[in-house]
């Protein structure tokens, strides 16, 4: 008997009615002869309500206590989901992250999973039970409750699937798969039947919200077959898996965009060795993740450095760079929050020269100015003005014929 891990997010369990639907869906999977382990997020909206209470008390709650607080969200949903399944006449049992032994490091609010003890889950499976596990949470060796950070339930599900050697990890969500672009932005965006881990990683890193970056990394590292599909239908979604298992492969997988970043620029920086290192070490010490970095050509011994960070980190960027900017007698930092990053992702671009040029000309034809560019072997990202993001995504999507009517594949 194969094990299927299913993960349901907050919108799939937003209220008790939806919870009952999810329970029905789980029971059907069990009826098909599978052992089912379910990972569930907090009911939609709960986490925000809990955070609101915390911030009513103090603007700087200790992170350990924040984790203690937030972990209750998933504990409520596992209990209710288990009740709903039991009400259908099936045997279900719920577990918190600590109870099933999801051991993490001690980095509260964004802990990393170190190990999972699966004995209890396997015991319950043997008894024929459906096992419900709280996503997003774990426990340190000192028994302190931790949470895994944004999208942590995806990571819980994929990590459990890896450890249980599950046949598949189904990420059941409010969209029915991974698309060539956000269907809300590009109405003729096409659902991808398969996508490689690498491409999914780049898409997730580029702003596609359908699957969490860390979950994809975990999946790639342990070879977990991930199936992104709708919570509300039985249709097949998108499989995320090893590229060499794929029968055919598109040059381009999709276009993603991200409006959550801001651009920071420091002007008149002395163009000497070690200066960039100094700047980015200060940011790293402040635990700030930098995404794109550009250093312009030097003019008369001075240069400009630009980079992007998530908007929430801007205040901390200012604090981290204050003394360095002064020391270097540079100007800034200057901030621009009205930017958007448009990314084109595709494993095929490695062997297809000219993809970058085509992307730039798509934007040029729409008269959209490119402010920053960065590339990897399977991704090209351009920063544009935020108000042009929709036109930019549509233009790039069209340029590469990614729409429903034009499926371009090549044999592998």
């Amino acid at each position: 008997m194969g094990i299927i891990v299913q993960k349901y997010g907050g919108t799939s369990v937003a209220d008790t009615e939806r919870l009952k639907n999810v329970a029905n869906r789980i029971v059907k999977t069990k009826e098909r002869g599978n052992a089912v382990v379910v990972v569930v997020s907090a009911l939609g909206g709960t986490t925000d309500e809990l955070l609101k209470m915390a911030y009513e008390i103090t603007p700087t709650p200790p992170e350990r206590e924040l984790d203690m607080l937030l972990a209750t969200g998933e504990q409520v949903s596992i209990a209710l989901l288990s009740m709903a399944i039991n009400a259908l006449g099936y045997d279900a049992i719920s577990f918190t992250g600590p109870q099933v032994g999801i051991l993490t490091d001690t980095t509260h609010t964004k802990a990393k999973i170190m190990d999972i003890r699966t004995e209890r889950i396997l015991d319950e499976i043997k008894k024929g039970r459906i096992v419900i596990v709280a996503g997003f949470q774990g426990v340190t060796v000192d028994q302190d409750i931790t949470t895994l950070g944004r999208g942590g339930s995806d990571t819980t599900a994929v990590a459990l699937a890896a450890r249980l050697k599950a046949d598949v990890c189904e990420i059941c969500t409010d969209v029915d798969g991974v698309y060539t672009a956000d269907p809300w932005l590009v109405p003729d965006a096409r659902k991808l039947p398969v996508i490689s881990y690498e491409e999914m990683l780049e898409l997730a890193a580029s702003g596609a919200k359908v699957l969490q970056l860390r979950a994809v990394e975990y999946g790639r590292n342990y070879g977990v077959l991930i199936h992104v599909r709708s919570s509300f239908s039985d249709e097949a979604g998108t499989l995320v898996r090893e590229v060499d298992q794929m029968m055919e492969r598109a040059i381009i997988s999709g276009v993603a965009c991200d409006i959550g970043e801001a651009k920071v620029t420091i002007r008149d920086v002395p163009d000497r060795p070690g200066i960039a290192a100094k700047v980015f070490k200060a940011l790293a010490d402040a635990n700030i993740n930098v995404d794109m970095i550009i250093q312009n050509v030097s003019e008369k011994g001075f240069t400009d450095i630009s980079f992007t960070v998530v908007k929430e980190d801007l205040t901390r960027v200012g604090r981290a760079l204050e003394s360095i900017v002064e020391e270097l007698k540079a100007r800034g930092p200057y901030y621009d929050e009205n930017i958007a990053k448009v990314s084109l992702v595709g494993a095929g671009m490695k062997t297809h020269p000219g993809v970058a040029a085509d992307m730039f000309s798509a934007l040029a034809e729409e008269n959209i100015n490119i402010q920053m560019i960065s590339t990897s072997s399977i991704k090209i990202s351009c920063v544009v003005d935020a108000k042009e993001v929709e036109r930019a995504v549509k233009a790039v999507h069209k340029k590469f014929n990614l729409g429903k009517e034009a499926v371009i594949c090549e044999g592998v």
Copy 2:
């Protein structure tokens, strides 16, 4: 340095403002040089909201999952309270029942505490921290979460105080002590400075809601000094302690009433040995607690049996007795939900004959009919019509001069 255990109930932490007040109060206790361990209930109203969700899903949620669900209520309040104390610049750390090792049996929804592992609490106290513990919850040896039933937080607090050998267990609540009667019912009711465990037990069993029966039992068994006092003032409340430590002792401690019970009567029961045993064994097997029992004098070989149970159990009583009533060719059961139990409690009545007679005449003078009577060595209870309960309590309270103006004591 002495340890003080303080317990705060749901109304004391009904919202974030009140939580901050409680935090201030805890910090003051710490400032006086005490080690402080705090037990806290769920924010007022939370438990009802959680139950509402559960019953939206199924009328019969499994008790294990109900405990999983309800335990989140206290987890929210410990996290928020710890944040509030940290915000005042003091070091606090919160723990769930399972985390501090409150080991219970496996009777979900009304588990009994078997043991408490205090190592982690003592460690944190040594570090100078204020320790916040979730009331009402524990964990089985299999790591399943349990709850202790109604008023369980009182029990957690007293049990912790016993185990930690605390100087005192302060039950901080929305009333400022134990009164000779409910002050809402009897405006001149008097606050008792001290009361014995035995009398407090009888009062709690008779409907006084200020302190939970099981907590008092625990306190008596382990000699924990309990101080019932207001969450909102620094005034002394009522001490609950060993009777032989008391300097003076009232004949009567107070009058309590309970409108939560119903009377059940079976008529024309054959008056043979073993019949009562049969009836009450059936009720015990259905896990129904019977309070008062009366069997009338037999007429022509048949008798009537009446007893009281909490109203919520009435449906189950019917089911449990159905076949027996038929088998005995008796009539009933008949139910009367419009009753109230008025109880007079006082350790002094053991040595003062005539207390019962005085109570009955107080009711007779008000023309209140007594339906049932039961007595213990320190308590007399009378069942009267529900609509006469207020007059009955006032009359008895007055008869024994329990009001503010008339304190009757005797040396011990």
